[in-house]
Structure formats: C-alpha cells, structure tokens
C-alpha cells in the first residue's frame, strides 16, 4: 500500500471522497458474448475499470509437455493495455501481470470441471482497457462470465471483489485514491453459491476483526455482482439467440 494517513479519504459526514458509503460498491455492468472471434467473451465495467475476457477452447494442449493426462490446463493471460493507466505501460508481460495471471489460472482451475477435458487446454485472455484500482477482480469476474459464455462447465462462477482499509475504517471496493493512500487491500474471488474462496490476496495491515468485516463486505458484494453476471448471460441466451 502507499503512504499512510497523510491523505484524507473520508469526509466529515462519514462518506468517502466519491460520495459512497463505507459498504457501498462502485457500479458494475456486464455484457456477455461481445467478441465474435472468441468461443466465449465478456466485458465488465467496475467503476471506471474496463476488463474484457476471451475464452478459446477446450483445444489441443501444446507444447505437449503442458498436457495433463487427467484434466485440462487453464492458460490465463492478464494484460494491461498500454493506454489503460495514467502513464503509458510498455507492452508485454511484467512481474505483476505474470503473478496475477498465475493465481487467476489457479483460481479458475478450482471451479472449472477440468477433469472433463483431459489433455486439452482452455485459453483465458484478460485485457484491461482502463485501470482505476480493482482490475484483477474485474478480470476474474469477466473471465468467469466468458467461460460460462463458452459453455464450459463450472461448479460456480468466481466473483472478483475487494475490500480494504482507509483511515482505520474497513471499506468495500477501494477506488484509485483509496488504493494508493489506504492501509490495506483484500482482493478475493468468491463462489456465492457455495460460500467458498477461490482467490485470495492481501497487502497492508488488517486486524483479525478488520479482516472478518472486510470479508463480510466482500461476500455481500459478491452476491450482488453474481446477479449481474447471471443477468448478462440470460440476456445473451434468452430468446433462442446464439
């Protein structure tokens, strides 16, 4: 996390700088099936973040050494577009995007019924077009909807959501300023249907009580986002389309 305590992030009326209550999420919109070339796709806007996910496969896994005899491998690439941030990002992988890609793949492997597709590969491409704190979560949400859009069976869709701490107060869904100057960030991938956790990262400083409250906020927000995800898929497939 960035600097501590020197930037005011809560207003005198207890609201946050953008007017949200402490347990209020930024608006989320989701559209499924937006990329004609992909087998499944989705676009998620979460506040000012824009994440697009495409799914290709299941397809032959190559090079052969990545094949698993009993299951599919999930190959995730999280990438930020050069124009997605304040300063341009040089194209290509960096340590951050490699780590996010790895843990996102592992989260998705825990919900996709990978044993149905032995020796194959499922490619998940996450592209961030606008980044304003919370892109890995928006990416996970987009990837889940894209996998469902591709017709790949899963135990549940993972919802990406984060809570954190600013001015010693636990808040839901940090925005850019809160992420830069706050005290903690807890991004998670949750399964609303089973109450399980598939993705977990955290940095900063949280007491156990603060962690529990942040997680409570996260689960509440996840079921709200889950409804938006289901809605997007219904819009895509209702009326006999596709």
């Amino acid at each position: 996390m960035g600097g501590y305590g020197d930037v005011k992030l809560l207003r005198d009326d207890g609201k946050r700088l953008d007017g949200r209550a402490i347990d209020e999420m930024r608006p989320v919109t989701i559209e499924a099936g937006i990329l004609p070339a992909a087998d499944g796709s989705a676009m998620v806007t979460h506040g000012l973040n824009v994440a697009v996910a495409a799914v290709y496969g299941p397809m032959e896994a190559h090079p052969r050494k990545i094949q698993r005899q009993d299951r599919a491998v999930i190959d995730v690439r999280y990438n930020m577009a050069p124009f997605s941030t304040g300063d341009r990002i040089r194209p290509g992988f960096n340590r951050r995007s490699r780590e996010i890609s790895k843990v996102t793949a592992e989260a998705l492997e825990s919900v996709v019924l990978v044993e149905r597709y032995p020796r194959s590969k499922i490619r998940v491409e996450i592209e961030i077009l606008a980044a304003e704190a919370g892109t890995r979560c928006a990416g996970i949400t987009a990837a889940s909807v894209a996998l469902a859009d591709a017709g790949i069976p899963m135990r549940d869709m993972i919802v990406g959501v984060a809570s954190g701490k600013i001015e010693d107060t636990v808040v839901l869904d940090l925005d850019k300023a809160e992420d830069n100057y706050g005290q903690a960030d807890l991004p998670v991938g949750l399964l609303p249907n089973t109450g399980e956790i598939a993705f977990l990262q955290m940095d900063g400083d949280l007491s156990i009580d603060e962690y529990n409250l942040a997680m409570e906020y996260n689960f509440k927000a996840a079921s709200e986002i889950h409804e938006v995800m289901v809605d997007a898929l219904k819009r895509r497939y209702e009326g006999g389309e596709a």
């Binding site: 824009v50 495409a54 690439r77 990438n79 050069p82 997605s84 941030t85 300063d87 341009r88 194209p91």
Partner: protein, 261 residues
C-alpha cells in the same frame, strides 16, 4: 492450420468469383458495416473503438515528455504500435510482437506520419530540452478480417480527439491536439482471382496478396503496402485506387461526424 481448409476455401472463392459473388453475399467492392466510437477509454488522452464487421479494435493515445533528438531539437515524435494479442483470435500466440503485428503498426504509422497531419514542431515544449512524444497504441480484440482498415480508422479517430495532458506534466494548460487532416486506409485482397474491398476472415484465409492504400484529405497517397505472395497489374491497381478514393472519403466523413458530437 491444416492446408486442406484454405485449399477447399480457395476453390469455393474461385467458384463464387466466376458469378461475381463473395462468400458473405457482398459485391466486389462492398464494405461491411462500420461503427466508430470516440473518447471511450477513461485513462487514454484520446481513444476510439471501431467495430468493423466481426473485427473489434481499440486505439488509445498517450503522451510523454522526452528529450528531443540532438539533430532535431524542436521536434516531438509520433509512434504508432499494434498488438495482435492472443485475445483477438485463436491463431494468435503469446510472445514478443510478431512480424504481422509489427507490419500492421508500421503501415498505420506511415499513413498518419506521412500525411503530415501532426506538425512535429508544434510538439516542442522547450527547444533542445523537452518535447512531447505521442504514442498511439492499437489493441485488436477480435480479428474478423481486415484489421488494417479498422486499425487505421481507430488510430486516426483516437488521435483527432486527443487532449494534450499538459497540466498533469506541469507544463501549462491542457489543450486539444492539433491534427491537420484525416488519413484513411482502404485495403484490398485478391480472393477468387480478383481484388475485393474489405476482405472477411475467410477471404483472408483462402486468398492471395493484399494491398493497403492510405489516402489523405486531398486524395494524395501517403502509404502503400503490398503484403503476402502474389503479383498484380497496373490496371488492377488503378481500379482499386478509384474504389479507395470513394471509401476513404466516406470514412473521413464518419470521423468528422463523430468529432462533432
């Protein structure tokens, strides 16, 4: 890709061409529907989204302050790059930029640069010390054929709506980038033995050479590129050039309309 599919497709394209038809029912020089959206990305200083048939491309403009080259102390710089990332099609592999994506970026770059629509001297902040570097990044999200024209359109539309972020860099007030002209690309592909405008994915797979023509506002040529195996005659070029003139002026009007909004 197994060679069998293109060879069957090639036969089919030849058969259709005999009756003057195309695989998706278009006429020889008909384009697909094009939708352009500008100013659509929050963190980019200029941005555009182009939906061209099944092709979807974003372009974003970013600025940086850099030291000018010693031999051109008052000139800023322009760079246009393209990424054919694996998100766009199952045929694209991860890894360093492929020759195809480098070609795409450079052909679009030449069309914009050589049209002279950006005055490099106007990008000077302090001669010999500080100039603006303008970077256009083309991001292909879905390749449904003819990514060149869609990329060229997205790039110029993003550039023409860009705002120089002078305040963020502490060098004055933000201002709209001055762009004098709207270079537009028109691309043709030999499919079924003759050139067609705006090739679809199938025509790209089962066709031969392609030709990209970028025209400026006055109808002058600013960039030409012939790609892939094949040869063509001067007469064939004259024919598609006439088509390009018409297509480019239609698209130029579309850009002007979007800017007006």
């Amino acid at each position: 890709m197994v060679e069998l599919v293109p060879s069957l497709l090639r036969q089919e394209l030849n058969r259709l061409a005999e009756d003057g038809q195309r695989i998706d029912g278009r006429g020889q020089f008909d384009g697909r529907d094009v939708h352009l959206e500008v100013d659509c990305l929050y963190n980019a200083e200029g941005s555009a989204k182009v939906v061209w048939g099944d092709t979807i491309i974003y372009a974003g403009v970013k600025f940086e302050i850099r030291t000018p080259w010693p031999d051109r102390p008052t000139q800023g710089s322009l760079m246009c790059g393209a990424e054919l990332r694996p998100v766009a099609h199952r045929k694209y592999e991860p890894g360093p930029p492929s020759p195809d994506s480098i070609e795409l970026g450079r052909v679009v770059d030449r069309g914009i640069r050589e049209s002279g629509c950006i005055d490099m001297d106007k990008l000077c902040i302090v001669p010999g010390e500080k100039v603006w570097g303008v970077m256009i990044d083309i991001h292909v999200l879905s390749d449904g054929g003819n990514i060149f024209d869609a990329a060229g359109l997205a790039a110029i539309a993003a550039l023409r709506t860009a705002v120089v972020p002078a305040e963020r860099f502490d060098v004055g007030e933000d201002y709209t980038l001055n762009v004098n002209g709207t270079p537009i690309m028109a691309s043709f592909k030999r499919a079924g033995g003759r050139f067609v405008y705006d090739p679809s994915e199938e025509e790209e797979l089962g066709g031969d050479e392609r030709i990209h023509i970028t025209l400026g506002d006055e109808g002058h040529l600013h960039s030409l590129q012939k790609g892939l195996k094949g040869v063509f005659t001067p007469d064939e070029f004259a024919e598609i050039l006439a088509v390009a003139e018409q297509k480019c002026s239609e698209l130029r009007k579309m850009v002007a309309e979007k800017e007006g909004n």
